[in-house]
Symmetry: C2
Subunit: 251 residues, 2 copies
C-alpha cells in the first residue's frame, strides 16, 4: 500500500500527517518507508540532522540515478525508514520537462524496494506539479489533509481534478483514501461552518477522526521525534493513532 | 514601488498579507494594483465571484498574449484594482521552459501599466519556481511573511538564496522590504522561542508589527471583503494598518 499525502493548499498539515501516520504504522510493527518529495524537506529535517550528510531522492530519480536503496536511511523510530529530500528536487521539473517518462520516475524507483515494506507514505509539496503527480502515479491511495478554512474549500476542485486525470491516464487503481480535517479549532463558527460544507462535498470519504490544533505536534519536529515518542499522551498522539486505525480499517 | 509577497513555505499568510496590505494602501488614497500570480487564485476569489467571468493574467503572460489592461478588474475597494489568476498559470512553467525570456514576462507585462499605479503588490504561490521568480524579477521589494514555527525557520535559507540569485543575475535593485511575523500566537513557548531566533537571523529587517492570529482575517475573504471594510476595529485590521505605516516609512 502506497499512500500520497497531498493538497496544493499550503500549510494544511501534509508533512505533520505524513510523519505521524508513517510513525504510527511503524509503532504497530509494520515496516514503513516515508518518502519526502518536497524540496522544502520538512519531513526530512524532522528526523535527520543536516550535518549527518545524507544522500537524497533526487539522486535516485534522475535518469541513470543511483539505486534508491543507497539513499534510504533508518530513523530513530523502529521499523520506520526515510528517503530524504533536498532542495535539488526543485530542479526535477526542468530536468525532466518534455520526457515521456517524466511522470513515472518515482513509480519506477519505488518498484525496486516496494516489497521490502508493508506501507509507503509520500509527503508532497504544496503544488500540483511534476513532484506531486509523480507521487500520485506511484501510489495506490491519496490522503488529503484539509484545514477548515475558506481558501481550503475553494481549492479542492483542482485537486480532485488532478487525481481524476492521473487515474484516467496513468494509474487506474488510484483511490482517495480519505479527507482529513487538520489543525482544527472547533471554537470558531467559521471552522464549524466549513466543516459542514466539507462533509457535504466529501461525505463518507471524510475521516471521522479530526486532528485538532495541538502545540505538541508543532514542537515534536524541533526535537527530531514523532508525536508518539515526544508526547505519547497528548491529544495529537491520540488523534493520529485514531487516524491510523481508521486508515487500516479502510484498506 | 512593486512589492512581491513571497515565501515558499505554505500557509504562512502570503495571500492574507497581499490582500490587506494592498487594501490599506488603497484606503489611504494610493492607486494600487494587486497581481495574483498563484494558480490557486486565493487573492482572486477574495474579491471576484467565479461566475462574473473574468480574464486572467496567464492570457497576458504567454507569448503574444493580450494586453494586461484588458484583464485588470476594479474591486469593490476604492483605488484597488486586481489582475486575477487562474489554474491556467500552473502551465506557465511548461509553456515557457527553456525560453530565454521566461523570467521576464511579468516584468515586461507590468511595464505597460506601471505608471498608472502608485503601488503594485504581487501574491505568489508556495514554491520557488518560475511564477515566484517572475514576481521577484518584476519587483523593487520582497516582503516575507513568516510563521513562528520550526519548519518556517528552516526554510528561510533557500528563500534568501533565491532572492540573492535574482538580485545578482537579473534585478540588482531588488531588496528585502522586511520580514513579517504572521498568524502569531504568543501564548506558546515555541512561538516565543522561534520569534527570538527569527530576530537573530533578520535583525532590523523584522517588522516591529506582528500580525496575531485573528479569526476576522480568516472570515473576511468568504464575504469578498478586505479586513478594513469587514471588521474595521478588529485586531487584524489595526495590525495590517500598522504594517502599512511601517512599509511606507521604509521606502
Ligand atoms: N494539528 C496541528 N496542531 C498544531 N500545529 C500544527 C498541526 N498540524 C500542523 N501544524 C503546524 O502547522 C504548520 C503547517 O503544517 P505542515 O508544515 O505539516 O503543513 P504542510 O501542508 O506540510 O505545509 P507545506 O504546504 O508548506 O508543505 C507547521 O508549523 C506545523 O507544525
Ligand atoms: N493572522 C491570521 N489570523 C488567523 N488566520 C489567518 C491569519 N493569516 C492567515 N490566516 C489564515 O490562515 C490560512 C493560511 O493563510 P494564507 O492562505 O493567507 O497563507 P498563504 O501563505 O497565502 O498560503 P499558500 O501557501 O497556500 O499560498 C488561511 O486560511 C487564512 O485565512
Ligand atoms: Mg509540508
Ligand atoms: Mg496564498
Amino acid at each position: 500500500m502506497i499512500i500520497s499525502v497531498a493538497n496544493q493548499k499550503g500549510g494544511v498539515g501534509k508533512t505533520t500527517t505524513a510523519i505521524n501516520l508513517s510513525a504510527a504504522l511503524a509503532h504497530k510493527g509494520n515496516k514503513t518507508l516515508l518518502v519526502d518529495m518536497d524540496p522544502q524537506a520538512n519531513a526530512t529535517i524532522s528526523f535527520l540532522r543536516p550535518e549527518s550528510g545524507y544522500r537524497n531522492i533526487y539522486e535516485a530519480l534522475v535518469p541513470h540515478g543511483c539505486p534508491i536503496r543507497e539513499i534510504i536511511q533508518k530513523t530513530q523510530t523502529d521499523n520506520l525508514h526515510l528517503a530524504p529530500a533536498s532542495i535539488a528536487l526543485a530542479k526535477l521539473e526542468a530536468t525532466l520537462a518534455g520526457e515521456l517518462e517524466a511522470h513515472f520516475c518515482l513509480k519506477d524507483t519505488l518498484s525496486k524496494v516496494k516489497k521490502d515494506f508493508d506501507y509507503i507514505v509520500i509527503d508532497t509539496p504544496p503544488t500540483l506539479g511534476i513532484l506531486t503527480v509523480n507521487a500520485m502515479v506511484a501510489s495506490t491511495h491519496v490522503l488529503v489533509p484539509i484545514q477548515s478554512s475558506y481558501f481550503a474549500l475553494e481549492g479542492t476542485d483542482d485537486l480532485v481534478e488532478t487525481i481524476d486525470k492521473v487515474k484516467k491516464r496513468v494509474n487506474p487503481n488510484l483511490q482517495i483514501l480519505g479527507v482529513l480535517l487538520t489543525i482544527y479549532d472547533g471554537r470558531t463558527i467559521l471552522s464549524r461552518d466549513i466543516h459542514q460544507q466539507i462533509l457535504q462535498v466529501f461525505g463518507a470519504k471524510l475521516f471521522k477522526t479530526i486532528i485538532h490544533k495541538n502545540v505538541r505536534l508543532e514542537e515534536a519536529p524541533a526535537y527530531k521525534e514523532d508525536i508518539f515518542s515526544f508526547a505519547p499522551s497528548s491529544r495529537g498522539a491520540l488523534e493520529y493513532y485514531q487516524l491510523t486505525e481508521e486508515v487500516l480499517s479502510r484498506v
